[in-house]
Symmetry: C2
Subunit: 313 residues, 2 copies
């Protein structure tokens, strides 16, 4: 049987050319055509590849659907209540790990070493040394110890940081000095100088960082969210920064993206906004996962990075 | 025989209290007194500790001098032509390594991930993703493979960078993929995306980075100098940036410090100035070296990090 792949991505042309370049067996490859015959094509294709928010609206019409390969790590648009769960859904993992780690340490180091103030000083021709600490004297908290969280832990250990982690189940994790579970979330919150959020978006993690959570954190702490906007309450983070409950926040993800230009976040003091860019899904990276998964799909083997619809990740 | 230590440092009080706290045997500890009896005291002390630029003017009067412990890694003010070489001169090593490494990667990551432009975008409420590369796709050149250079190489390898190094003698060095020597400096210059200078200031390294050197480098390269200002010609780096021979420069050190507020460097495009702060000599760190060296001095054992007057480092 011929497989039919429909690509629904902001980078459709790039994906089409990369996948064609692989010369996969028994695979017809389609980009989304001009409005009109889209529906018929969706109905005929058994494999979809793309961003979850682009794929979600087509799921009801996908009569032959067997497998969706997401180009993003987070797949919440495909997990809304009542949505179909009668297909294989696979995500991407590991490829983002270095991008995410580099982003997190870019900001940790930039803030610890006052890069932004130093540039301001330069503009004023001001030669002013500022104290700092080595990362070896800092404690990082990693909230979520999936593949991204564990990668960040490894880099933190390279810099000799003290590493705390938070996860659902109590288990030892490499490069993590101390693991906390939901039974002691407050204890976890109290320690970190840098708090990095890498949890998946689920009902349990929604607004995990609210006013109460910020109240437990160090006044000198910096929050860095690279996972999903729903995990951090936006009014609470603005309040926490205005009241000085925490010192800073670096947010790559938001409850609504792109962030509205009316959002109070843009001008909140000590809040750094990046445009959901910490771990970009480069087609080259995603295609290497798709290629391996297509081989497995053809051979009826378990696919890599399959999402558990019940857990949500 | 009683040893007499004179501290000549911007942090004299801190050094005095830290060293007294160690309770060293047979050691009288002096800070520099008010002008007047300084000379007599200098003549009586056999050990000096402090910044080389503060120590240098007192060397001629130091009639009992046996040992100078520098609080800085670079000791050029003590190596001027005709200056005394009849004492032990020791520097500090290793303690700066993490500070230097964190500084270098703060700027590499900040530039690779466009942190400064992203902050500008935020000020304009602009949501704009920008492409970047993983450090794994970047080549770092480390010019000088002493303890700081090797430390930077280790972090570069943690980030899976390709690492080239430049040193006087051809020797394999851990974490360095390819070692270049002065016979092939031009070959070395052509590769790196990020070129980090950690060489000591000597006659051989003076203005090593001149117009010709910048002409060999990639147009997309960024120069990062954390060692000494004399190694980079300041007019040449301004010219190279203006002509686009290189993309950027991060300078922590200058030919004259503090940098004059008339210097054209302050406003040169894509040049980042930091106030000789990459590796601060924290007294706690220096005192741990002094303590070990004092034990060795008492026991007539070779001191740590002794400077070779002939080589200059």
């Amino acid at each position: 049987m011929k497989n039919r792949l429909l690509i629904l991505s902001r980078d459709t042309n790039r994906y089409e050319s990369l996948i064609k370049g692989l010369g996969p067996e028994d695979l017809e490859i389609h980009g989304l055509p001009a409005e009109g015959d889209a529906k018929a094509l969706v109905g005929r294709c058994n494999i979809l590849l793309g961003e979850p928010n682009r794929i979600a609206p087509h799921i009801p019409a996908a009569a032959s659907l067997q497998w969706v390969q997401s180009t993003f790590a987070g797949v919440e648009p495909l997990l809304t209540p009542g949505s179909r769960r009668d297909y294989l859904l696979t995500g991407v993992k590991k490829v983002f790990d270095p991008y995410m780690g580099e982003y997190v340490f870019a900001y940790i180091l930039a803030l610890e070493r006052h890069l932004f103030e130093t540039l301001e000083n330069q503009r004023n021709r001001t030669w002013r040394q500022r104290p700092y600490q080595s990362l070896a004297d800092r404690l990082i908290g990693i909230c979520g110890l999936g593949s991204i969280g564990r990668h960040i832990a490894r880099t933190a250990k390279h810099f000799n940081m003290t590493v705390w982690g938070f996860k659902r189940k109590d288990q030892r994790v490499q490069d993590v000095d101390r693991v906390f579970t939901p039974r002691n979330f407050n204890g976890f919150l109290k320690g970190p100088d840098y708090m990095v959020v890498t949890l998946p978006a689920t009902d349990n993690t929604r607004h995990l960082f609210d006013e109460a959570a910020f109240g437990q954190m160090k006044n000198s702490a910096v929050l860095i969210n690279v996972s999903r906007g729903s995990i951090v309450s936006e009014p609470a983070v603005v309040g926490a920064l205005e009241k000085g409950l925490i010192k800073g926040a670096v947010l790559d993800v938001f409850e609504k993206e792109p962030l509205s230009d009316k959002s109070p976040l843009w001008t909140c003091p000590n809040l750094f906004i990046t445009p959901h860019n910490a771990g970009y899904s480069f087609p080259e990276d995603v295609v290497s996962i798709f290629a391996e998964n297509y081989r497995r799909f053809m051979n009826r083997k378990p696919l890599l990075y399959q999402i558990d619809f019940r857990r949500g990740y």
